[in-house]
Protein backbone atom coordinates (compact mmCIF):
# COMPACT_ATOMS: atom_id res chain seq x y z
CA UNK A 1 0.00 0.00 0.00
CA UNK A 2 1.49 3.35 -1.00
CA UNK A 3 1.52 6.45 1.17
CA UNK A 4 -1.23 8.22 -0.78
CA UNK A 5 -3.59 5.21 -0.48
CA UNK A 6 -2.86 4.92 3.23
CA UNK A 7 -3.57 8.63 3.80
CA UNK A 8 -6.78 8.37 1.82
CA UNK A 9 -8.18 5.40 3.71
CA UNK A 10 -6.95 6.63 7.10
CA UNK A 11 -8.66 10.01 6.51
CA UNK A 12 -11.84 8.30 5.34
CA UNK A 13 -12.03 6.06 8.43
CA UNK A 14 -11.31 8.96 10.73
CA UNK A 15 -13.98 11.13 9.15
CA UNK A 16 -16.64 8.42 9.04
CA UNK A 17 -16.08 6.63 12.31
CA UNK A 18 -13.44 8.44 14.35
CA UNK A 19 -11.20 5.39 13.98
CA UNK A 20 -7.50 6.24 14.01
CA UNK A 21 -5.37 3.86 11.98
CA UNK A 22 -1.62 4.28 12.39
CA UNK A 23 0.88 2.82 9.89
CA UNK A 24 1.78 0.01 12.32
CA UNK A 25 -1.79 -1.26 11.95
CA UNK A 26 -1.57 -1.68 8.18
CA UNK A 27 -1.91 -5.44 8.67
CA UNK A 28 -5.51 -4.80 9.72
CA UNK A 29 -6.29 -3.66 6.19
CA UNK A 30 -5.14 -7.00 4.86
CA UNK A 31 -6.99 -9.17 7.34
CA UNK A 32 -10.21 -7.19 7.21
CA UNK A 33 -10.39 -5.72 3.71
CA UNK A 34 -9.06 -8.51 1.51
CA UNK A 35 -12.27 -10.52 2.02
CA UNK A 36 -14.23 -7.50 0.71
CA UNK A 37 -11.91 -7.21 -2.28
CA UNK A 38 -12.41 -10.89 -3.05
CA UNK A 39 -16.18 -10.58 -2.74
CA UNK A 40 -16.14 -7.80 -5.37
CA UNK A 41 -13.72 -9.78 -7.54
CA UNK A 42 -10.98 -7.22 -7.07
CA UNK A 43 -7.52 -8.81 -7.08
CA UNK A 44 -5.73 -6.78 -4.42
CA UNK A 45 -6.01 -4.25 -1.64
CA UNK A 46 -4.54 -1.60 -3.95
CA UNK A 47 -7.25 -2.43 -6.45
CA UNK A 48 -9.94 -2.09 -3.80
CA UNK A 49 -8.70 1.32 -2.71
CA UNK A 50 -8.41 2.44 -6.32
CA UNK A 51 -12.08 1.48 -6.83
CA UNK A 52 -13.12 3.36 -3.70
CA UNK A 53 -11.24 6.46 -4.81
CA UNK A 54 -12.36 6.36 -8.41
CA UNK A 55 -16.03 5.51 -8.01
CA UNK A 56 -16.73 6.99 -4.58
CA UNK A 57 -19.17 4.11 -4.24
CA UNK A 58 -21.00 4.61 -0.95
CA UNK A 59 -21.94 0.95 -0.60
CA UNK A 60 -18.32 -0.14 -0.98
CA UNK A 61 -17.06 2.58 1.37
CA UNK A 62 -19.73 1.51 3.87
CA UNK A 63 -18.53 -2.08 3.73
CA UNK A 64 -14.94 -0.99 4.33
CA UNK A 65 -15.82 1.20 7.33
CA UNK A 66 -17.97 -1.64 8.63
CA UNK A 67 -15.15 -4.18 8.39
CA UNK A 68 -12.56 -1.91 9.97
CA UNK A 69 -14.73 -0.89 12.93
CA UNK A 70 -16.04 -4.32 13.87
CA UNK A 71 -14.33 -5.37 17.05
CA UNK A 72 -14.08 -8.51 19.06
CA UNK A 73 -16.57 -9.07 21.80
CA UNK A 74 -17.78 -11.91 23.99
CA UNK A 75 -20.38 -12.60 26.63
CA UNK A 76 -19.49 -11.15 30.05
CA UNK A 77 -16.25 -9.87 28.55
CA UNK A 78 -13.59 -9.10 31.19
CA UNK A 79 -15.99 -10.13 33.98
CA UNK A 80 -15.00 -7.35 36.40
CA UNK A 81 -17.26 -4.63 34.89
CA UNK A 82 -20.18 -7.02 35.34
CA UNK A 83 -19.13 -7.72 38.92
CA UNK A 84 -18.99 -3.96 39.54
CA UNK A 85 -22.46 -3.57 38.03
CA UNK A 86 -23.86 -6.43 40.10
CA UNK A 87 -22.30 -5.61 43.44
CA UNK A 88 -22.25 -1.82 43.48
CA UNK A 89 -23.59 0.17 40.54
CA UNK A 90 -26.97 -1.56 40.16
CA UNK A 91 -27.83 -1.99 43.87
CA UNK A 92 -27.21 1.77 44.35
CA UNK A 93 -29.31 2.75 41.35
CA UNK A 94 -32.11 0.37 42.29
CA UNK A 95 -32.30 2.02 45.69
CA UNK A 96 -32.34 5.52 44.21
CA UNK A 97 -34.85 4.66 41.46
CA UNK A 98 -37.24 2.80 43.74
CA UNK A 99 -40.00 5.35 43.12
CA UNK A 100 -39.67 5.56 39.33
CA UNK A 101 -38.95 1.85 38.82
CA UNK A 102 -37.21 2.71 35.56
CA UNK A 103 -33.63 2.07 34.45
CA UNK A 104 -31.93 2.86 31.16
CA UNK A 105 -28.60 1.31 30.22
CA UNK A 106 -26.60 2.03 27.06
CA UNK A 107 -24.16 -0.39 25.51
CA UNK A 108 -22.27 1.98 23.21
CA UNK A 109 -20.47 0.37 20.25
CA UNK A 110 -22.30 -2.83 21.08
CA UNK A 111 -20.95 -4.85 18.15
CA UNK A 112 -22.94 -8.10 17.81
CA UNK A 113 -24.75 -7.51 21.10
CA UNK A 114 -23.02 -9.81 23.57
CA UNK A 115 -22.53 -7.05 26.16
CA UNK A 116 -26.15 -5.90 25.97
CA UNK A 117 -27.46 -9.46 26.21
CA UNK A 118 -25.07 -10.24 29.07
CA UNK A 119 -26.58 -7.28 30.96
CA UNK A 120 -30.09 -8.52 30.22
CA UNK A 121 -29.17 -11.99 31.55
CA UNK A 122 -27.61 -10.50 34.67
CA UNK A 123 -30.66 -8.32 35.38
CA UNK A 124 -32.97 -11.32 35.00
CA UNK A 125 -30.86 -13.74 37.05
CA UNK A 126 -29.49 -11.55 39.82
CA UNK A 127 -32.21 -8.92 40.20
CA UNK A 128 -35.49 -10.79 39.81
CA UNK A 129 -37.46 -7.94 41.44
CA UNK A 130 -36.64 -5.78 38.43
CA UNK A 131 -39.08 -7.87 36.41
CA UNK A 132 -41.71 -5.36 37.60
CA UNK A 133 -39.59 -2.39 36.47
CA UNK A 134 -39.30 -0.73 33.09
CA UNK A 135 -35.81 -1.74 31.98
CA UNK A 136 -34.39 -0.43 28.74
CA UNK A 137 -31.08 -1.63 27.41
CA UNK A 138 -30.05 0.24 24.28
CA UNK A 139 -27.26 -1.15 22.12
CA UNK A 140 -25.80 1.03 19.36
CA UNK A 141 -23.14 0.52 16.75
CA UNK A 142 -21.94 2.27 13.63
CA UNK A 143 -21.89 -0.95 11.62
CA UNK A 144 -25.16 -2.00 9.92
CA UNK A 145 -24.06 -5.63 9.67
CA UNK A 146 -23.34 -6.03 13.38
CA UNK A 147 -26.53 -4.21 14.41
CA UNK A 148 -28.49 -6.60 12.22
CA UNK A 149 -26.73 -9.57 13.84
CA UNK A 150 -27.29 -8.15 17.32
CA UNK A 151 -31.02 -7.79 16.64
CA UNK A 152 -31.16 -11.35 15.39
CA UNK A 153 -29.53 -12.51 18.64
CA UNK A 154 -28.22 -15.72 17.06
CA UNK A 155 -24.72 -16.90 17.86
CA UNK A 156 -22.44 -19.74 16.81
CA UNK A 157 -21.38 -22.51 19.17
CA UNK A 158 -17.95 -20.91 19.24
CA UNK A 159 -19.41 -17.52 20.28
CA UNK A 160 -21.62 -18.90 23.06
CA UNK A 161 -18.69 -20.77 24.57
CA UNK A 162 -16.75 -17.54 25.13
CA UNK A 163 -17.49 -16.17 28.59
CA UNK A 164 -20.97 -17.65 28.96
CA UNK A 165 -21.57 -20.13 31.79
CA UNK A 166 -23.30 -23.26 30.52
CA UNK A 167 -26.25 -22.72 32.89
CA UNK A 168 -26.88 -19.33 31.25
CA UNK A 169 -26.73 -20.89 27.79
CA UNK A 170 -29.33 -23.49 28.69
CA UNK A 171 -31.55 -20.97 30.48
CA UNK A 172 -31.50 -18.04 28.07
CA UNK A 173 -30.94 -19.51 24.60
CA UNK A 174 -32.81 -21.82 22.27
CA UNK A 175 -31.01 -24.04 19.83
CA UNK A 176 -31.87 -23.34 16.20
CA UNK A 177 -29.94 -25.71 13.94
CA UNK A 178 -26.26 -24.94 14.38
CA UNK A 179 -27.00 -21.64 16.09
CA UNK A 180 -27.98 -20.54 19.56
CA UNK A 181 -30.62 -17.82 19.70
CA UNK A 182 -31.37 -15.59 22.68
CA UNK A 183 -34.92 -16.28 23.92
CA UNK A 184 -37.56 -13.72 22.90
CA UNK A 185 -38.20 -12.41 26.43
CA UNK A 186 -34.54 -11.41 26.71
CA UNK A 187 -34.40 -10.02 23.17
CA UNK A 188 -37.35 -7.80 24.07
CA UNK A 189 -35.29 -6.17 26.84
CA UNK A 190 -32.73 -4.86 24.37
CA UNK A 191 -33.20 -2.29 21.62
CA UNK A 192 -30.42 -2.22 19.01
CA UNK A 193 -29.94 0.85 16.83
CA UNK A 194 -27.59 1.96 14.11
CA UNK A 195 -25.84 4.97 15.56
CA UNK A 196 -22.63 6.94 15.13
CA UNK A 197 -21.01 7.95 18.43
CA UNK A 198 -19.59 11.02 16.72
CA UNK A 199 -23.05 12.35 15.91
CA UNK A 200 -25.46 14.03 18.34
CA UNK A 201 -26.30 11.70 21.21
CA UNK A 202 -29.39 13.67 22.26
CA UNK A 203 -31.86 11.42 20.37
CA UNK A 204 -30.85 8.52 22.59
CA UNK A 205 -32.17 10.24 25.73
CA UNK A 206 -30.79 9.98 29.24
CA UNK A 207 -29.14 6.91 30.72
CA UNK A 208 -28.40 5.64 34.21
CA UNK A 209 -25.41 3.57 33.07
CA UNK A 210 -23.31 3.89 29.93
CA UNK A 211 -20.90 1.12 28.96
CA UNK A 212 -18.45 2.39 26.38
CA UNK A 213 -15.70 -0.20 26.50
CA UNK A 214 -12.76 -0.56 24.16
CA UNK A 215 -14.05 2.20 21.91
CA UNK A 216 -12.09 5.29 23.00
CA UNK A 217 -8.78 3.49 22.43
CA UNK A 218 -9.39 3.80 18.70
CA UNK A 219 -9.92 7.59 18.84
CA UNK A 220 -7.45 10.47 18.96
CA UNK A 221 -7.41 12.72 22.03
CA UNK A 222 -9.79 15.48 20.79
CA UNK A 223 -12.29 12.83 19.65
CA UNK A 224 -12.04 11.01 23.00
CA UNK A 225 -12.75 14.31 24.81
CA UNK A 226 -15.66 15.10 22.51
CA UNK A 227 -17.25 11.67 22.99
CA UNK A 228 -16.76 11.71 26.78
CA UNK A 229 -18.34 15.18 27.01
CA UNK A 230 -21.24 14.11 24.81
CA UNK A 231 -21.83 10.98 26.92
CA UNK A 232 -21.73 13.15 30.02
CA UNK A 233 -24.72 15.13 28.74
CA UNK A 234 -26.74 11.90 28.40
CA UNK A 235 -25.79 10.46 31.78
CA UNK A 236 -27.87 10.89 34.95
CA UNK A 237 -25.85 12.78 37.59
CA UNK A 238 -25.95 9.77 39.91
CA UNK A 239 -25.30 7.33 37.08
CA UNK A 240 -22.08 5.62 36.01
CA UNK A 241 -19.84 5.41 32.97
CA UNK A 242 -17.98 2.14 32.47
CA UNK A 243 -14.89 2.12 30.24
CA UNK A 244 -12.59 -0.66 29.03
CA UNK A 245 -9.55 -1.90 30.91
CA UNK A 246 -7.08 0.19 28.90
CA UNK A 247 -9.17 3.37 29.01
CA UNK A 248 -9.62 6.25 31.44
CA UNK A 249 -11.25 9.68 31.65
CA UNK A 250 -8.32 11.25 33.42
CA UNK A 251 -6.30 13.73 31.40
CA UNK A 252 -9.10 13.78 28.83
CA UNK A 253 -12.23 15.07 30.53
CA UNK A 254 -12.60 16.73 33.94
CA UNK A 255 -16.34 16.11 34.06
CA UNK A 256 -15.96 12.70 35.66
CA UNK A 257 -14.62 11.37 38.92
CA UNK A 258 -13.40 7.92 39.81
CA UNK A 259 -15.40 5.57 41.95
CA UNK A 260 -13.38 4.23 44.83
CA UNK A 261 -12.58 0.57 44.54
CA UNK A 262 -14.14 0.13 41.13
CA UNK A 263 -11.69 -0.03 38.26
CA UNK A 264 -13.05 1.38 35.03
CA UNK A 265 -16.19 2.88 36.63
CA UNK A 266 -16.59 6.67 36.58
CA UNK A 267 -19.10 9.05 38.11
CA UNK A 268 -20.38 11.97 36.02
CA UNK A 269 -20.30 14.17 39.15
CA UNK A 270 -16.59 14.43 40.09
CA UNK A 271 -17.07 15.71 43.63
CA UNK A 272 -19.98 13.46 44.47
CA UNK A 273 -18.45 10.39 42.89
CA UNK A 274 -17.20 8.71 45.99
CA UNK A 275 -20.31 9.48 48.01
CA UNK A 276 -22.75 8.29 45.40
CA UNK A 277 -21.12 5.21 44.16
CA UNK A 278 -20.85 3.02 47.15
CA UNK A 279 -24.12 2.40 48.92
CA UNK A 280 -24.03 -0.23 51.61
CA UNK A 281 -23.72 -3.64 50.02
CA UNK A 282 -26.93 -5.53 50.17
CA UNK A 283 -28.37 -8.60 48.62
CA UNK A 284 -29.97 -8.19 45.24
CA UNK A 285 -33.56 -6.99 45.54
Amino acid sequence: MNAADFSYIAALLRERSGLIVTPDKIYLFETRLLPIARKHKIASLDGLIAQMRARKCEALIGEVVDAMTTNETSFFRDRHPFEAMKKTVLPGLIERRAAQKHLRIWSAACSTGQEAYSLAMMLRDDFPALAAWRIEIVGTDISPSVVARAKEGAFSTFEVQRGLPIHSLVKHFEQVGEQWRIKPELRRMVDFRLFNLLGSLAPLGQFDVVLCRNVLIYFDLPTKARVLDAIHRQLARDGALILGGAESVFGISDRYGDVAGLRGVYSPAPAAGRAMALPPLRAAV
Binding site: R79, Q161, R162, I166, H167, V170
Partner: protein, 124 residues
Protein backbone atom coordinates in the same frame (compact mmCIF):
# COMPACT_ATOMS: atom_id res chain seq x y z
CA UNK B 1 3.37 -35.46 50.09
CA UNK B 2 2.25 -34.27 46.71
CA UNK B 3 0.07 -31.18 47.13
CA UNK B 4 -0.24 -30.32 43.44
CA UNK B 5 -3.71 -30.03 42.07
CA UNK B 6 -4.76 -32.98 39.94
CA UNK B 7 -6.66 -32.85 36.67
CA UNK B 8 -8.10 -36.13 35.39
CA UNK B 9 -8.56 -36.18 31.61
CA UNK B 10 -11.04 -38.82 30.48
CA UNK B 11 -11.20 -39.31 26.71
CA UNK B 12 -10.80 -42.32 24.43
CA UNK B 13 -8.79 -40.22 21.97
CA UNK B 14 -5.11 -40.26 22.92
CA UNK B 15 -4.61 -37.12 20.79
CA UNK B 16 -7.20 -35.18 22.83
CA UNK B 17 -5.74 -36.49 26.09
CA UNK B 18 -2.27 -35.35 25.02
CA UNK B 19 -3.41 -31.82 24.10
CA UNK B 20 -5.52 -31.46 27.23
CA UNK B 21 -2.76 -32.84 29.47
CA UNK B 22 -0.28 -30.32 28.06
CA UNK B 23 -2.70 -27.50 28.68
CA UNK B 24 -3.30 -28.44 32.31
CA UNK B 25 0.40 -29.10 33.01
CA UNK B 26 1.10 -25.56 31.75
CA UNK B 27 -1.38 -24.33 34.35
CA UNK B 28 0.52 -26.19 37.08
CA UNK B 29 -1.70 -29.25 37.44
CA UNK B 30 -0.60 -32.85 37.79
CA UNK B 31 -2.44 -34.72 35.08
CA UNK B 32 -3.87 -38.23 35.16
CA UNK B 33 -5.44 -39.83 32.10
CA UNK B 34 -8.19 -42.39 31.59
CA UNK B 35 -9.44 -43.79 28.27
CA UNK B 36 -12.83 -45.02 29.52
CA UNK B 37 -15.37 -44.03 32.14
CA UNK B 38 -14.57 -47.18 34.06
CA UNK B 39 -10.89 -46.27 34.34
CA UNK B 40 -11.92 -42.84 35.59
CA UNK B 41 -14.07 -44.34 38.35
CA UNK B 42 -11.24 -46.67 39.40
CA UNK B 43 -8.88 -43.72 39.57
CA UNK B 44 -11.31 -41.69 41.68
CA UNK B 45 -11.71 -44.50 44.20
CA UNK B 46 -8.11 -43.80 45.23
CA UNK B 47 -7.47 -40.18 44.23
CA UNK B 48 -9.31 -36.89 44.45
CA UNK B 49 -8.82 -34.76 41.34
CA UNK B 50 -9.74 -31.10 41.58
CA UNK B 51 -11.14 -31.15 38.08
CA UNK B 52 -12.25 -33.89 35.68
CA UNK B 53 -12.46 -33.25 31.94
CA UNK B 54 -14.97 -35.85 30.76
CA UNK B 55 -15.74 -36.98 27.22
CA UNK B 56 -19.23 -38.36 26.52
CA UNK B 57 -18.81 -41.07 23.90
CA UNK B 58 -16.30 -43.69 25.06
CA UNK B 59 -16.14 -47.49 25.02
CA UNK B 60 -16.86 -49.66 28.09
CA UNK B 61 -18.51 -46.87 30.11
CA UNK B 62 -19.59 -43.57 28.56
CA UNK B 63 -19.16 -40.15 30.15
CA UNK B 64 -22.70 -39.63 31.39
CA UNK B 65 -22.78 -43.03 33.16
CA UNK B 66 -19.33 -42.27 34.59
CA UNK B 67 -20.56 -38.89 35.84
CA UNK B 68 -23.54 -40.47 37.65
CA UNK B 69 -21.29 -42.98 39.38
CA UNK B 70 -18.74 -40.30 40.25
CA UNK B 71 -21.36 -38.11 41.91
CA UNK B 72 -22.46 -41.08 44.02
CA UNK B 73 -18.89 -41.84 45.14
CA UNK B 74 -17.88 -40.81 48.62
CA UNK B 75 -14.94 -38.52 47.84
CA UNK B 76 -13.09 -36.25 50.32
CA UNK B 77 -13.75 -33.24 48.06
CA UNK B 78 -16.22 -32.86 45.21
CA UNK B 79 -14.30 -32.55 41.95
CA UNK B 80 -15.44 -30.04 39.33
CA UNK B 81 -16.59 -31.96 36.26
CA UNK B 82 -16.44 -30.40 32.82
CA UNK B 83 -18.09 -32.43 30.08
CA UNK B 84 -16.07 -32.00 26.91
CA UNK B 85 -17.76 -33.59 23.95
CA UNK B 86 -19.00 -33.34 20.37
CA UNK B 87 -22.55 -33.75 21.74
CA UNK B 88 -24.08 -30.29 21.30
CA UNK B 89 -27.84 -30.86 21.57
CA UNK B 90 -29.40 -28.80 24.34
CA UNK B 91 -31.13 -31.95 25.68
CA UNK B 92 -27.72 -33.59 26.15
CA UNK B 93 -26.37 -30.51 27.94
CA UNK B 94 -29.39 -30.48 30.24
CA UNK B 95 -28.91 -34.20 30.91
CA UNK B 96 -25.26 -33.64 31.87
CA UNK B 97 -26.11 -30.69 34.13
CA UNK B 98 -28.83 -32.72 35.83
CA UNK B 99 -26.31 -35.54 36.41
CA UNK B 100 -23.94 -33.13 38.15
CA UNK B 101 -21.69 -31.58 35.50
CA UNK B 102 -20.44 -28.14 36.47
CA UNK B 103 -19.54 -26.95 32.99
CA UNK B 104 -19.86 -28.15 29.43
CA UNK B 105 -17.60 -27.63 26.44
CA UNK B 106 -18.68 -28.45 22.92
CA UNK B 107 -15.91 -29.75 20.68
CA UNK B 108 -14.14 -28.36 18.79
CA UNK B 109 -13.05 -25.64 21.17
CA UNK B 110 -10.16 -23.24 21.55
CA UNK B 111 -7.71 -22.80 24.40
CA UNK B 112 -9.51 -19.51 25.23
CA UNK B 113 -12.78 -21.36 25.76
CA UNK B 114 -11.11 -23.75 28.17
CA UNK B 115 -9.52 -20.85 30.04
CA UNK B 116 -12.89 -19.05 30.23
CA UNK B 117 -14.56 -22.12 31.68
CA UNK B 118 -11.81 -22.65 34.26
CA UNK B 119 -12.09 -18.99 35.27
CA UNK B 120 -15.85 -19.41 35.73
CA UNK B 121 -15.16 -22.39 37.98
CA UNK B 122 -12.59 -20.38 39.94
CA UNK B 123 -9.80 -22.76 38.89
CA UNK B 124 -7.62 -20.50 36.73
Amino acid sequence: MNTKRICLVVDDSSAIRRVMAGFFRDLGFDVAEAATGLHAIEYCEWHTPEIIMLDWNMPVMDGISCLRVLRALDMPKRPAVVMCTTESQIAKIQEALAAGADEYIMKPFSRDVLLDKLAQLGLA
